[in-house]
């Protein structure tokens, strides 16, 4: 007898303030990163990332993003495609800060509960991360160093820095 193992779906839901709204968290992050030597930085915008693992389909993940994770008045959301973002010089950076798997993620746990209470299949896990979109010339090593000294704690956080679209 063969056992068919169903691969879990992993959806990355990104929620950001609409650009017409002032991003206070982004302004605070901007000041901190400049203190760390990223002097060419022009702006930082922030968002939340939710990595939802389980049997949810893309449509169901879309529904969770729309109905549960996003305030439709001030925020916008999207499902982030799994393929890497195309390069765009060194002017725009995408920084993701995630709690390491060994560290409790109360927000993620609450999101998983809320998805189930919303009538969808309960995810096997949900993790919450912080998104920083940096506008300004820098090199990757500089960004990683500055983030580790200001926006993330390497002891508990995993940081992913990639070049990004504006």
């Amino acid at each position: 007898m063969s056992i068919k193992i169903q691969a879990a779906n992993v959806h990355l839901i990104e929620v950001k303030l609409r650009t017409e709204f002032n991003d206070a968290e982004g302004a605070a992050a901007f000041a901190l990163l400049r203190e760390q030597g990223l002097s060419a930085l022009k702006e930082v915008r922030t968002g939340r990332l939710y990595e939802v693992t389980g049997s949810l389909t893309a449509n169901q993940a879309h529904q969770a993003g729309k109905d549960l994770l996003c305030d439709a008045v001030t925020q916008e959301f999207r499902l982030v495609p799994p393929s890497p973002a195309p390069m765009n010089g060194m002017n725009f950076w995408r920084v993701e800060v995630w709690l390491k798997p060994t560290v409790s993620d109360p927000v993620g746990a609450t999101v998983a509960e809320a998805i189930a209470e919303g009538g969808l299949q309960r995810p096997t896990s949900a993790r919450c991360g912080m998104l920083y979109l940096l506008n300004g010339r820098a090199v990757k090593a500089q960004v990683e160093k500055a983030v580790a000294k200001s926006l993330a704690n390497p002891l508990i956080h995993r940081v992913v820095v990639t070049e990004a679209h504006p």
Partner: protein
């Protein structure tokens, strides 16, 4: 023969190993066990004729950790002071406990033995108060460390007696200066980052739980840059019938709240060691305030239905400590497979030792289980039966039919070897001040008022919700614009009790000044007690009903000089408690607060003692704030000024060393406090503010700019040592026990009557008056103006110092 001996698959071989090998094993597993402790463990298992299991070794290490057993305070000390040598058998018993027993206060309902101290509050109610430290976790991860510090102390209050409802959080911090420009070792956070993270952690946890954060303070000193201190306190209210708890054999062991994960492993042993770069990431946790709020609501509902006989929190050591403590007098049998888990790949010992947050353990009569399940289910809170309390005197833990722990409770709780330590105290301090450059009084005042240890904490305080629950009568920020520095907060807790016509309140104040400790920790301790009590008195609390908490944070007690200083401080606490006739009801110590700096040299923190005090305010409607209330009112100074500038802020800004550290006379201080309290209860006092850092000048300036009225002061009228001929000494001396008081002219004689025959030793003199013009103007001993400053400018300097650095 034990089951463990038969099924030895979890064995952790130690028998026959050398001390060197055991030290290596201990270091690898972060066990923080000494050679003597390893020896005691080896001897015990030799008599059992078997090797211990890993879970047993971990259980013993957690239970015997400095964090859980307070070994420094309870072990014998050979103390040398000059040529005198004496042995202290148990520092804690001979100082804090002995003094508390000697003052015999019948309103103390629970002392030292439970998760918090408990005092009566009226006839029906009781107040529970606990202050914890969360230093090592906050150094590694400021946000998570501070947040779980708040979560932990709130659980202490839920776990005292049968549980109290938290009605106030307090938070006191010691940080390196946020404008520190020097180098830091690899992995250390800059003090600014630590400050921001700690404040955010306290804010988020306290605010989300709906508990007002309304008391505390911050002290800056670069020697805290690698080892910040985070003191988290909570006051709870409970019915007096709920103070007692009891575990009975046959009671079920019930775990409630959060699930168990790998987070928080080795928290207790980690906090019993020097902080270094090899700290385990598992020692850091992220709290879940909403989960704890569910536990709080369900637990208090179950308490009122009397559904359990005892409760304690899962803190350091997790289930091992919580169940080990509850079952210490009888025994416990645990089936670990019943524990709800966050992840499925945990080892047995990890489930047993995990310090995952938001968990409590209850002792429940089997007949009450169904009703208890219903109460917790209604709050969406998980509950699991882990086993039962027994009569065996043993701690037995089974995981999926495999015994992983079988320890004798007596060995676990009483088997810790007592090792004598050396302590030395030498007073090297010069009594005569030396060095530094003298400054004009105005210049010195401007500099002091913008000093980091004095300036406004509004940047921090405004982040906390200090109004939630609607009972904060005297707030941390006071005056016409709600931005002046209060002495203590006053809380009306009866929204929680439902006694809406009861106007009795309580106040909480603090005392801390490590600069005095650098000169003499004995006088630092007395000054800290005095400061906490005078802060309470200033807001209308009854100083004769005050109860104290001690929190010692020290560097390595293995250094005889550090331990000598600690002995001095503990003896200062003893003499303060006796002198003020005020009991200590609870406390905590945190040792090994030292790390290697950027050059590899040990950087110890200054010996630090936080004294917290709680006292009833008989009628909250008569509470007093510190801002001047109007022009033309008389200003009285209570307490005598001596030439005591040693360790003062004035000396610090001049760069001066030496001088006499402030010395407390508890008897005369208490007379003054009691007389002032009597005057306040009769409505004879408009405002009152204590003289601390910066002395009289700074105190008057703060009262003035907070009320937006000025004042005229005459130094020749100050009650003082007649040998003082210096205006600066009278302006800036930090002699303790002094309070500046504003009194309406028509009430002056009535006010003074309170300081009559019954309070001869208190010195009180009219030293000036309030004015409409917002300036502080002081006439010196020679009769001419020695200080004249605009209060508006002083306030600006006071308000802008911290935001200018933090942005």
């Amino acid at each position: 023969m034990s089951q463990l001996a038969e099924t030895n698959q979890d064995a952790f071989p130690i028998l026959g190993k050398s001390p060197k090998d055991l030290r290596a094993i201990g270091a690898q597993r972060h066990l923080s066990l000494s050679d003597a402790e390893w020896g005691a463990i080896q001897a015990h298992f030799k008599t059992l004729k078997r090797e211990p299991s890993l879970a047993e070794i971990e259980t013993i290490a957690q239970t015997w950790s400095e964090h859980c057993k307070h070994k420094t305070f309870t072990s014998p000390i050979r103390y040398t002071e000059g040529k005198k040598v004496r042995t202290i058998k148990n520092l804690f018993a001979e100082t804090i406990v002995a003094a508390t027993e000697s003052v015999k206060k019948p309103w103390c309902l629970s002392l030292f033995k439970d998760n918090a101290g408990v005092v009566a509050f009226g006839k029906k109610w009781a107040l529970a108060f606990k202050v914890e430290t969360h230093n090592h976790p906050s150094a590694l991860e400021p946000y998570g460390g501070a947040a779980t510090g708040v979560g932990g102390v709130v659980r202490d209050i839920l776990g005292v007696g049968l549980g109290a409802k938290p009605v106030l959080n307090t938070d006191t911090f010691c940080f390196g200066r946020p404008d520190y420009k020097g180098a830091l070792p690899e992995g250390a956070h800059h003090p600014t980052r630590t400050l921001r993270g700690v404040v955010a952690g306290v804010r988020d946890y306290g605010n989300r739980m709906g508990i007002p954060t309304a008391g505390g303070g911050i002290w800056f000193d670069d020697d805290y840059r690698l080892n910040p201190l985070v003191f988290c306190g909570t006051v709870g209210i409970m019915p007096q019938w709920a103070v007692k708890k009891e575990v009975k054999p046959g009671d079920l062991i019930v775990a409630v709240g959060g699930r168990t994960g790998r987070d928080g492993l080795h928290g207790a042993t980690f906090s019993s060691a020097n902080l270094g770069a090899d700290a385990p990431s598992s020692a850091v946790q992220i709290g879940h305030a909403i989960q704890e709020k569910r536990v709080l609501d369900a637990l208090l509902a179950a308490r009122d239905k009397k559904l359990y006989g005892s409760v304690t929190d899962c803190g350091a050591g997790g289930f091992s400590s919580a169940i080990g403590e509850l079952g210490a007098d009888c025994g416990a049998r645990v089936r670990l497979e019943n524990a709800p888990l966050k992840v499925s790949d945990l080892d047995s010992w990890e489930i047993w030792l995990s310090e995952s947050q938001e968990r409590m353990v209850l002792a429940v009569h089997p007949k009450s289980l169904k009703a208890l399940e219903a109460v917790f289910a209604a709050e969406g809170c998980e509950l699991a039966v882990l086993g039962e309390f027994t009569r065996t005197g043993k701690l037995e833990v089974v995981h999926h039919e495999r015994t992983i722990v079988e320890l004798d409770m007596k060995f676990l709780h009483k088997g810790l070897p007592r090792v004598e330590r050396e302590a030395v105290w030498t007073n090297n301090h010069a009594a005569k001040p030396a060095g530094g450059v003298t400054k004009k009084a105005g210049e010195a005042l401007r500099e002091m008022i913008g000093h980091l240890n004095v300036c406004s904490r509004e940047w921090v305080i405004r982040q906390y919700d200090h109004e939630v629950q609607g009972g904060t009568i005297v707030k941390p920020l006071q005056g016409v614009r709600h931005d002046g520095p209060g002495d203590a907060c006053v809380i009306w807790p009866h929204a929680a009790t439902g006694d809406m016509d009861d106007f009795s309140c309580f106040a909480v104040g603090h005392g801390l000044n490590p600069d005095y400790g650098r000169i003499d920790p004995y006088w630092m301790a007395l000054a800290a007690v005095d400061e906490a009590l005078r802060n309470l008195t200033c807001v209308g609390a009854d100083p004769s009903r005050a109860a104290l908490l001690d929190n010692f944070c020290w560097a390595s007690p293995e250094d005889p000089k550090q331990l000598g200083a600690l002995v001095r401080a503990a003896e200062g606490c003893r003499d303060a408690a006796k002198g003020f006739s005020t009991p200590f009801i609870s406390g905590k110590d945190s040792m090994f607060n030292q790390s290697k700096d950027e050059k590899g040299k040990e950087l110890p923190i200054p010996g630090t003692l936080l004294v917290s005090a709680v006292a009833p305010v008989p009628d909250g409607r008569k509470a007093v704030t510190m801002d001047f209330k109007g022009p033309g009112n008389a200003l009285y100074l209570i307490g005598r000024t001596n030439d005591e500038l040693g360790g003062s802020l004035y000396h610090r800004i001049l760069g001066r060393t030496g001088g006499e550290v402030p010395k407390v006379n508890p008897a005369s201080a208490l007379d003054g406090f009691k007389a002032l309290h009597a005057a306040m209860t009769r409505g004879h006092v408009l405002s009152a503010h204590d003289l601390s850092e910066g002395g009289l000048a700074l105190c008057a300036a703060e009262m003035g700019f907070t009320g937006e009225f000025g004042c005229l002061l005459d130094l020749d009228e100050c009650p003082r040592d007649p040998r003082i001929y210096s205006n600066e000494t009278l302006l800036f001396s930090e002699s303790p026990s002094r309070i500046l008081v504003e009194v309406k002219p028509e009430n002056e004689s009535a006010f003074l009557r309170h300081f009559g025959k019954s309070a001869k030793s208190a010195m009180v003199r009219r030293v000036g008056q309030t004015t409409a013009n917002p300036i502080i103007k002081v006439t010196g001993l020679e009769g001419s103006t020695c200080l004249e400053e605009s209060l508006k400018e002083l306030k600006e300097a006071w308000q802008t110092a911290l935001p200018r650095i933090l942005g």
